[in-house]
């Protein structure tokens, strides 16, 4: 390999990419590239130069949360670059125990992030056609979010699952709870920036943030701490988000934060 090629190769891993938005396992409606199992995910990470991945089980999202989370634990056990993210639902009366106990058990298993999917089998938030299983109101999710906030467990929410009013309400009620919005689209910019201006605990993942000079703008207005690298694999190609960060004219420190250090910091501050 030539000198220039080695020089280029040496730059590949310098940003420490840590994907916050990946899903493992079969999906009911496959995209162009289908779905990925663990080994395929690891191969994709290597190809795209991604060091670590926070991964959710599709089985947990779309079928059964508890058993899907267990499958995920089995799949990721022994693979230190894969970090499980559990799918949670508000405790079901008479079946699930106290929320605090559930979060304690989750943390004891080494899990440091969680997702809620009120709209688990739909990708469009249209409640006239597809009512959600629950809304993000205090009456429903209060005890669960209180338990997560007490331990500062990052909560990831797809924007096809929640309304902006709910996001703002959660940010207000739970200032200790880091909230990461995923599947953010360029049409969300006004709502996103309003949230960034008011809520220090709000962050956004970049896989859908296809904005001309978009990361440059967010870094200038709000700092690089608010954006997290995410690929949305298996639906999206990681090439997209990797290049967003790699080509962003924000300086290497900001690039490293967006690429992975912001997520590492969030996971590292969980109070176990």
């Amino acid at each position: 390999m030539s000198g220039p090629a080695l020089e280029l190769m040496g730059m590949i891993d310098d940003l420490g990419f840590f994907d916050c938005n990946a899903r493992l396992g079969p999906v009911p409606v496959p995209g162009v590239g289908g779905w990925v199992d663990r080994d395929q995910l690891l191969a994709e990470m290597e190809y795209f130069g991604i060091a670590e991945t926070l991964v959710v089980s599709t089985y947990a999202k779309e079928h059964l949360a508890d058993s899907g989370n267990e499958r995920l634990m089995a799949d990721t056990a022994g693979f230190p670059t894969l970090h499980p993210c559990w799918v949670l639902f508000p405790a079901y009366p008479g079946i699930d125990g106290p929320e605090e106990d559930r979060i304690d058990r989750m943390l004891a298993r080494g899990v440091r992030a969680a997702r809620l999917y009120p709209n688990p089998t739909n990708e469009i938030l249209d409640e006239s056609e597809n009512p959600r299983q629950y809304v993000l109101h205090e009456a429903v999710v209060g005890p669960l979010l209180t338990a997560l906030a007490a331990r500062r467990v990052p909560l990831l929410l797809d924007l096809d699952q929640v309304r902006w009013e709910e996001v703002y309400d959660l940010c207000t009620r739970y200032p200790r709870l880091p909230i990461v919005l995923t599947a953010v689209h360029y049409s969300h910019k006004r709502s996103l920036f309003a949230g960034f201006a008011r809520f220090p605990n709000l962050r956004a993942e970049i896989s859908g943030y296809h904005v001309h000079l978009g990361l440059e703008e967010v870094c200038a207005e709000f700092g690089p701490e608010r954006m997290l690298f995410g690929t949305r694999i298996p639906s999206f190609t990681p090439a997209s988000a990797v290049a967003m960060v790699r080509y962003a004219d924000v300086g290497p420190e900001a690039q490293r934060k967006i690429a992975g250090d912001n997520l590492r910091q969030l996971l590292g501050q969980v109070e176990v």
């Binding site: 001309h212 000079l213 190609t237 090439a239 997209s240 990797v242 290049a243 967003m244 962003a248």
Partner: protein, 290 residues
């Protein structure tokens, strides 16, 4: 090994191949929030990515005011010579003005393709109002970039592009966004396999994993064109989709610029920049002149 991929992995401009964007915009519209929408910021990102030239249409033109928007494109071409190729926008809802406006644009230097937006103009791509445009484009072999999206709203389905292209075999029709959604992409590929003058545009914010690989596998690299949809979207993901595709660098070079260069060379339009771009065509050894 891919020299193109090595450069993109390092965040460097693509060199050694000619990169021409078939699908870009300047300006903004629909009150969507944007800070940077001007030709200068677009040129800056093109430099960062190694894009030699971009076919641009105005967001104003694909919205309410075709003539003023087209004038924005002419001004950008004048301000940034050889970086932009104008895409003349037409609106069939103004039939008395449509052909006159198209001829006005095509008489200007470096206006090389035609752009239609059936969705924003709320007029079906295969409707009769476009026929005078197709007749002119057919006669002069001018590429037409047609916005398409999704599984169909009666306006901009890829199969409507197929009907237009099949009726005008000398007119290259670029399926804008290649239908965008998963279903739209599959329909675009099916249409392109049936009609040889259909071309697939890689530019879309729906960055499906494996999409470029699938396009090449199904229709061949010779009918896939690199597009960004800048300034609606960001440029880096669009370059990276091609760079990371599991295809050869020769195929990437075709997609990134050579295919469009060949289409522009065949079109009977006034393109002073064409010779410059042809001069930047890589030699057989693969060494570019950037």
């Amino acid at each position: 090994m891919s020299a193109i991929l090595d450069l993109v992995r390092a965040g460097r401009p693509v060199t050694g191949v000619l990169v021409i964007d078939c699908h870009a915009h300047i300006g903004w519209g629909h009150n969507m929030p944007r800070r940077y929408t001007d030709a200068e910021s677009l040129a800056r990102v093109m430099d960062r990515l190694g894009i030699a030239a971009a076919c641009i249409s105005s967001c104003l033109a694909i919205g309410p005011d075709v003539r003023s928007g087209n004038d924005e494109v002419l001004a950008a071409i004048d301000r940034w010579p050889s970086r932009f190729i104008g895409a003349a926008v037409v609106n069939p809802n103004y039939p008395d003005e449509m052909v006159r406006e198209l001829e006005r644009m095509l008489s200007c230097p470096d206006v090389g393709i035609i752009k239609v937006h059936p969705s924003f103009h709320a007029y079906p791509l295969d409707g009769p109002g476009y026929e005078p445009v197709w007749a002119l484009a057919e006669e002069r072999q001018i590429p037409v970039l047609a916005h398409t999206w999704g599984e169909g709203r009666g306006l901009d389905h890829p199969f409507q592009a197929e009907r237009v292209a099949s009726g005008h075999p000398r007119m290259p029709v670029i399926i804008g966004h290649s239908g965008g959604s998963v279903g739209g992409l599959r329909a675009s590929i099916a249409a392109a396999k049936r009609v040889p003058n259909l071309y697939l545009d890689t530019g879309t914010s729906s960055v499906h994993r494996g999409a470029v690989d699938l396009m090449v596998r199904e229709v061949g690299a010779g009918r896939v064109l690199f597009g960004t949809d800048n300034v609606y979207t960001g440029g880096p993901p669009q370059v990276a989709k091609v760079a990371y595709a599991r295809i050869g660098d020769a195929e990437k070079g075709q997609i990134l610029g050579l295919n469009l260069l060949d289409l522009l060379a065949r079109a009977q339009v006034n393109l002073p920049s064409l010779r410059l771009l042809q001069g930047r065509r890589p030699s057989a050894s693969g060494a570019g002149e950037k």
